[in-house]
């Protein structure tokens, strides 16, 4: 039985396809989902979501939200979901610097501290996922 994965963010549907397995960052630790998983609703942490499909693997940087698992379907409701290969590493580094600066100086143009902290965290996850992808290249499995 195939497992249908849908990743949605408030602004768009980021992914919808049949997959073999998915590993994602639950708030209580990494979580692997295969078909026939027990029904589950969980909060999501921040980190990397890995999709295994055929022999290939894809990954997303995701940040905050929920996860609903049914035996044949996984729905990820994340605040942010970027396909690793589409992450602009330079832009993420720039965002990281800007957020760090905002945190150091206290306040910058209209950004409060919690926003800056969230921006920093998002930038770091993006960088982490994109860098790993860059180092290892698209992974293949026999």
């Amino acid at each position: 039985m195939p497992l249908r994965l849908e990743i949605v963010t408030p602004e768009r549907q980021a992914y919808a396809d049949e997959v073999d397995a998915v590993v994602l960052p639950g708030s209580e630790g990494e979580l692997g989902v295969l078909p026939h998983h027990a029904p589950l609703v969980s909060t999501l942490g921040a980190g990397e979501l890995r999709i295994r499909k055929g022999g290939a693997e894809e990954s997303f940087a995701i940040f905050g939200g929920f996860l609903q698992v049914r035996p044949d379907k996984v729905v990820v409701m994340a605040e942010l979901a970027d396909l690793a290969s589409e992450i602009d590493l330079e832009a993420a580094r720039e965002a990281q610097r800007a957020a760090q600066k905002a945190l150091e100086t206290g306040f910058s143009e209209g950004i409060d501290l919690s926003t800056a902290r969230a921006a920093l965290q998002q930038a770091l996850i993006r960088i982490r996922v994109a860098e790993r992808r860059y180092r290892e290249g698209p992974r293949r499995r026999g």
Binding site: E6, V8, T9, P10, E11, R12, Q13, G26, S27, E28, A38, P39, L40, V41, S42, T43, G65, F66, Q68, R70, V75, M77, E79
Partner: protein
Amino acid sequence: MPSQREIRIRIGSVKNIKQITRAMQFVAASKLKRAQESTIAARPYADKLEEVLADIATVLGGDEHPLLATPEGGKRLIVLVTSDRGLAGPFNTNTVRYAAREIVEHAGDLTTITVGRKGRDAMRRAGVPIEAHFAGFGDRPKFADVLPLARLVAEDFLAAKYGRVDIIFSRFVSTLVQRPTLNQLLPIRASEDTAGIPGNQFIFEPSPTAVLEQLLPRYVATRLYQAVLESKASEESSRMVAMKSATENAEELIEDLTLAYNKVRQANITREMIEIATGARAL
């Protein structure tokens, strides 16, 4: 009768107006398309969130979380969504009028948060208390834009400052129809749990309450975001239609003025010919 010169000047200025309204019409059309697309793109997330909420609501009752309880008295908050800019046909007027009727009909302890300058101006004129104001969120509202508003609303509600929160915005039905609408935002009325597996069969991690606590602020933000997007689509379609009829009116006016211009010109020529003829006869 105005002179030839005066009519010519008027025709020129009406032509200028026509150019502007035409340009606005096309700009509104392209913005409308974008707004419609984002409204549709935002729908899956909202639907899924609603589904999870329904699952949780079957497990948790209203007495276990204030956001799910039924309202009993308390102050009422209305979030009024309008636009910053005018020249959008009856869009702002209709929304504000709808809000005004609602406020008059259900008099009581009430305050508002306005999104968009037009709504704020109207509420201020009417002397309705305004708790906070957010400027419209530009042509491409982002989810992150509504988060401060959502946080404010959710926190104040949890602090029992309000007993009930409603959103008034213009629902986008079609390009020709936009309907001012009131939606109850808080306390949440979870929809019936109809999708697939009944809620009580789910495992909740870390716990139903913890999931709910994370979910509610996002739910509030999503509902507000949708209202903002719908309002945006309504605004642009209303503007497009208004500008289209303005362009047509300008065309009609130009026709009438051209006719008047030609009449005056003809009259002048006739008069001059008579003058010449009489002059010649006098010789």
